[in-house]
């Protein structure tokens, strides 16, 4: 039987993202999973500050733009007040891991029953490509013009690995949008994360590696190659903590 492939109704609008940005793919995948789980009219997003804020422009769902870095904290409150709703905290790496590290860690530490989708493009995209907590060692950005020197800046932050090994969370995974196969795998991770929340198992997080051609100074296709050749070997893909408490 032929299957219709259509962008879900509440994100089926023109977006403001740069050409070749991966945000559009991730927001579509989250929406598809919500639709398949029958939760597309039962969701509230908390959205961070940064390029992720642009998602709000093309989305018609309940959502709240939170103070910079505090989306996870707001999501915790939303879930405690509205336990019947699916709560998704949609943030970039600068929002979730730099300014919002405290809130993100606290939410994972308390094992709040929310799902956090973190978009990792290894820089602060919206403000012009400065170094973020996840910038690769040696990567040139507008604030690390000679390449990131980890002896001065500290090492890149691997959030899913950290919460999977240290905290009692329900699910942690990292995916990528660099190929059709990885996008399909990523959809499976997002669905697992949402199901973990719906089943009341606890905190779930999916980090997604996306291209940022504008700030990497590459063409969209070069930026996909950069993810494959340089970023995935460092930020390994896969499930870091499976449902049922198994560390992977």
């Amino acid at each position: 039987m032929e299957k219709e492939r259509k962008v879900p109704h509440f994100v089926d609008n023109p977006s403001n993202f740069c050409p070749g940005c991966g945000h559009g793919i991730v927001s579509r995948l989250v929406a598809e999973c919500l639709e398949e789980l029958g939760q597309d009219r039962n969701v509230i997003y908390t959205i961070g500050i940064g390029c992720s804020s642009n998602m709000s422009a093309g989305m018609k769902a309940d959502r709240l733009h939170c103070c910079h870095g505090r989306a996870s904290a707001v999501a915790s409150g939303m879930k405690r007040v509205n336990p019947q709703n699916v709560i998704i905290s949609y943030q970039g790496d600068g929002d979730a891991y730099s300014i919002g590290m405290g809130e993100s860690m606290g939410t994972a530490y308390r094992n709040e029953k929310i799902t956090m989708i973190t978009i990792n493009n290894t820089n602060y995209g919206m403000t012009g490509g400065q170094m973020s907590a996840t910038t690769m060692p040696g990567q040139k950005t507008t604030t690390t013009v000679y390449g990131r020197d980890c002896s001065v800046t500290g090492n890149p932050f691997k959030f899913p690995e950290l919460v999977a090994s240290q905290f009692d969370v329900a699910y942690a995974a990292r995916g990528s949008v660099d190929s059709v196969g990885n996008i399909n795998r990523l959809k499976g991770y997002i669905k697992d994360a949402l199901e973990a929340q719906i089943a009341g198992e606890g905190y779930s997080v999916v980090e997604v590696l996306i291209p940022c051609p504008t700030n990497w100074g590459m063409t969209p296709l070069e930026s996909l190659d950069h993810i494959r050749n340089n970023i995935i070997p460092y930020y390994t893909l896969g499930v870091k903590k499976a449902r049922g408490g198994k560390s992977v």
């Binding site: 039987m1 032929e2 299957k3 219709e4 492939r5 259509k6 962008v7 994100v11 089926d12 609008n13 023109p14 977006s15 993202f17 740069c18 050409p19 070749g20 940005c21 991966g22 945000h23 559009g24 793919i25 579509r28 949008v177 190929s179 059709v180 996008i183 399909n184 051609p213 063409t219 969209p220 296709l221 996909l224």
Partner: protein, 69 residues
């Protein structure tokens, strides 16, 4: 299966062109409303696998069951 292309959303990133297994997607010579060359599909070659839909960040493709093209 029919494929609707929302050409005014296309930003010419080329993800679909690169991921098409039949290499039947190309860019039109004429620009769209937002100033990019939108994609066109050679329907003779297309096998309707849906790879273009999967990789598209801008929701350009809509695969509609029924009909020939």
């Amino acid at each position: 299966m029919r494929i609707e292309i929302k050409k005014d959303r296309c930003k010419e990133c080329g993800f679909c062109v690169a991921s098409c297994p039949k290499k039947c997607i190309s860019f039109a010579p004429k620009i769209n409303k937002i100033g990019y060359h939108p994609v066109v599909i050679d329907m003779e070659q297309c096998i309707k696998c849906g790879s273009c839909y999967t990789v598209c960040p801008d929701g350009v493709y809509h695969f509609i069951p029924g009909g020939d093209q």
